[in-house]
Each structure stands twice: as structure tokens, then as C-alpha cells.
Amino acid sequence: MTAETDTAPAALAVRRPGGRIDAALVTILAGALILWFAPVGMGRYGTYVLTLWLVMAIAVMGLNLTLGVAGLKSLAQAAFMGIGAYATGLLTAKMGLSWYPAFAISAVATFAVGLVVGFPALRVKAHYLAFVTLAFTSLVWLFLRNEQWLTGGTFGLPNIPRPTLLGTRLDDALSFHRFVVVVTAALTLMIWWLMRSPWGRAFLALRENPVRAASLGVDVRAYTLLAFAIGSAYGGMAGALYAPLVEFIDPSPFAISASFFLLLMVVAGGSGYLFGPFIGALLGVVLPEWLRFTGGLYLIIFAAIVLLLLIVCPKGVLGLAEQALGAVVRRFRRTS
């Protein structure tokens, strides 16, 4: 053996699975640490906005999986968030259950509903799925609005308690924020794990070329359903955090327009990227807050910004960042 063949595998090992993926892991942990301390001195409202950002990021992460990774255009994410929020709200506020089992039930229930709603995904072409899920979102919203005996209708569901940890209720904004930081970090790690597992490879194959994937033994049906159900469960878990965050829920944040909004966040952040949802949710949650000073015009300015952003970089913020990085690297290579 020559020296060259000896060193080659070692050199490859550095670039192989390791490299970039570990950077992702470090980013998750560092991000969690920063967010743990971020709200210090921000006040109640600032902390609330920060927490809301993370909660929305969880929902967007789920949709990013179904859409950005497995390529399924779903407009049902707001409905899953609603199911999770109402399930948790009802179980904790009305039935006195602790938040933890309520969270687990919300996750399992939305996973199961996701399997059922995802079923049409197997039968219809991609753009039809958008309309099936759109119908589903409308039906869920109608149910939440009309079944007053259960959901409180348009009057909403008040007094949703915050979770307790080690015997104390997380009533103040900062401790609940930190609780959400930990949950978000755990859920991000799960997606990270999923995406680097063989499942992640199968999801990618499914999005890129389902016919070829099937010819290689990838069970298109099973993986499609799973991508949809896991994404839905993330919506449900986001809802289960949203309910105790706002402490009062009504049907309006779970309407069709909210589903559009979530989809918009996936694309604006960069669909298919692990951290795209955080950027997208930043645009969708924090930017409107900054635009509050414009009064009633904030929504119109927000939509215009997103529209311009999409025209300039259709692959989202992270897509643009990757392009820019690629250009820098190429220039660097050329000069060196």
C-alpha cells in the first residue's frame, strides 16, 4: 500500500457524515443556550414574543418535514396546531389533567389524524393534496367554532394552566420560556436525528424522484404517510405549547389563513433546510411585531416583504445564504 491510499480514507472520514452534521448539532445546543438567557431584561412582552417564535418554529419544522423534505404540499398544519391546542386546553383546563400527559396525547392524536388525512396523499397528485388539506383545515375550524358545548365556540377556552415543573407552576414568562427552549431543542434534535438516519435519505429520494425511489424498494406509501404524520404531530405539539403560552384559545388562529401563513414561513425560511423553520418563524412572528408601529398596515407590509423576498430568492433566506456562501467559496478557491 502506498502512503496515498493510506491517507485517503482518513481524509474522507473528515468530510464524511461527520463535518457539517456536527455543525448542526453544535448550532442546536448553542442556540438553546443563547435562547435560555436571551430574554433577560426583555420584559414580559418581549419574552412572550420570543417564546411564541419558538412555538411557531416547532409547527413550521413539522410542515418543513412534510413539505420541504418529503415534498407534500399540506395546508393542514394550522388545523393540527388547533387540534393540539384544544386537546391540551380541554384536558388541562376542563379535566384537570397535568400538562405532560396532555402533551403526549396531543402528539399521538395528531399523529393518528395525520395518518388518516395523509391517506389521500397516496391517491392524488401533489397540488390536489393542497386542496384536500385545505378542506380539512376548514372543517376543523368549523367544528371548533360551532361545537360550543365542547370548545366554547367563538368565546374561546379560557384559563389554560401553565405546566408545572418540580412542584412549581411556570407562571412567569421567563421560566415558561426556558421550558419551551428545552422542548424546542429536544424536538429539533429529533428532526436532526431523523434527517440523518436512513429515513431522511428515503424522504429525500421520495421528494426528488418517487418513481426511481420505488424501483429501489422504498415503500412510497409508508414513507409518505409517516412524513405526513410526523409533520402533523409537530403541529400538534406546537399547539400543546401554544395553549398554555397564551392561556386562552379561540378558533381564529387555526383558520385557513394560518395554514397559508405556516406554509409561507417554510418557504420564506428555506424549505428543506434544518434551520429554515426558525428563520421562517422569525419572519412570520417577530417581523409583524416589529411592524406594529405601522398600525393596521403591518399585515400588508409583511406580505409585501415576503413577496419581494420570494421574487428575489425563491429558495428562501437560507437558500440565498447558501448561494452567497457558494459564491464566496468559489472566489476564495480561485484566488488561492
Binding site: V267, I311, P314
Partner: protein
Amino acid sequence: MSEFLAYLIVGIATGSIYALAAIGFTLVWQTSQTINFAQGEFVMLPAILVLLAVKLLGVPIPVAVLIGAAAFVLIFGVGFKRAIVDPMLPHGVLPLAIATMSLAIIMKEGAKDGFSAEAQSFPSPFAADTVSILGTAVSVQFIMIIVVAFASIAALQWFVTRTRTGRQMQAAAQNPNVARILGIPVERMVMLTFIINAALAALASFLISPIYLAKFSNGETIGLFAFIAAIVGGFNQVRGALLGGILVGIFDSLAAAYVSTSYRLAVPLALLVLIILLKPEGLIGRKEERHV
């Protein structure tokens, strides 16, 4: 029975308006793969523009209608394609679909902030009389809506199938590459479909606003029903969108009358889900055979 007939006629009338929106939707989808999620807002806005023209310019209604329609076709026919569809289409269908969602928000909020948050009455061009059909009093307005909508759709169908330009447009929609080789100006034909879409939306707007009043939030339901109509009929044909629109209109009208009003919306939605599950190619669409 006579009550049923009245609801049926109302359903056909509103349904033919949904059909106008659905036809535009499918035309634009066929020629440029644009799923226009702002289609409902496209039907909402022209009436608002007309009222705005009356308010700001003080012109009489017929002049305002001409101004409103022209401005709308220019901005949301030509401008929409140039400014939004053209730059985004090379990057795939999804970013474009999201962009139309943003556009919908801008149109809706713009109508609210720039005009009014309240529903405004919109004058009907038709007499407020009723006529008796089989012993049922039916408003002339609904009859005239049906006549105007059907006449427009028939004219469109004639244009598409019987004129040279119309056939070129069809060819461009079905196979742009072959059309290009045959020397058809594909780009101009695609633009034509956007102009026709805007014109149909404006017509739908002027027909529906006297019934539902002109309000910024009207687009939500109209857009949803136009999508449902397009899918139920079978995404790829004018006839399909017409059939789908009328079915949706009738279902909606009968649901409002005989099902609880709070679940009225659920009936057309259920129709949509059923069609997609049982006959995804639509009632008179073409089927594609391929397994994955």
C-alpha cells in the same frame, strides 16, 4: 317544492359566477402552472375599484365600471404575470403559489385599509322585479346572472375552439414546446390567458357584488368555491369548470336552506373531498394511468 326551485335557481346563479372564477383559474393553471391562491381576491377587488372610482373621481357608475375593469385587467392581468409569475416560474410551482398567497393578503388588507372595512352596497345592473316560474317567484337578477354568465362562457368556448387565436392558445396550453415549433407565439398566448382570467374575475365581481355586497373579506369563500369547482369539474377543461361551479353553487344554496347554517360551508367541502378520493381526475376530466 316551489321553495326548492327557488333555492335551485339561486344556486345555479351563484354557481355560474363561481364557474367564471374557476375557468380563469384553470386557464392560468394550464398555461403556466400557476396555482393562484389569490383567485378569490381577484373576484373581490374589481367591485371595490369601481366604488373607489365613484368616490374619488365622482364619475357615474357605468364609467366607473369601465375604469375599474380596465385598471384591474391591466394590473392583475398583465402586471401580475410580468411582476410575479414571470420571475418566479423558473423556480418551481411552490414559491409562486406562496407568492400568490402573499398577494391575496396584500389585496385583502389593501381593500380594507384603502377603502373600507365595512360591506358596501354595489348597484345591480338588472331590474329588481321578480318573475313567476312554475308558480315560484324568482328574482330577475338571478335569471339575468345566469344568462350573462352562460353567454360569456359560451363566447369564451367559441373563441377557444373556433378562432385561430383561440386554437393557438389551446395549443400553447397543451404543449408549449410543440406550439413553439409550429410558430405559435406562446408567450403572447400565455399573456392572453392572464388577461382573460382578469376579465372573467372582473365580470364575476360585478355579478356577485350586488348580491353579497362588496367587502374586503369576500375573496375567502369565493376563492375556496372556485378551487372546489375547478377540481370537481376536472381541472383541465372549460366545460368541467362550468359543471363544477354550478354543482358547488347548488350544493351551497341547498345546504344553506336545508342543513344548519353553521355547517353550510362543510357541504361543498365534503363534495370536494369525495371527488378527490373517488374520482381525482374530476367529473369530466381525463384520467392518467401510472403507478408509483
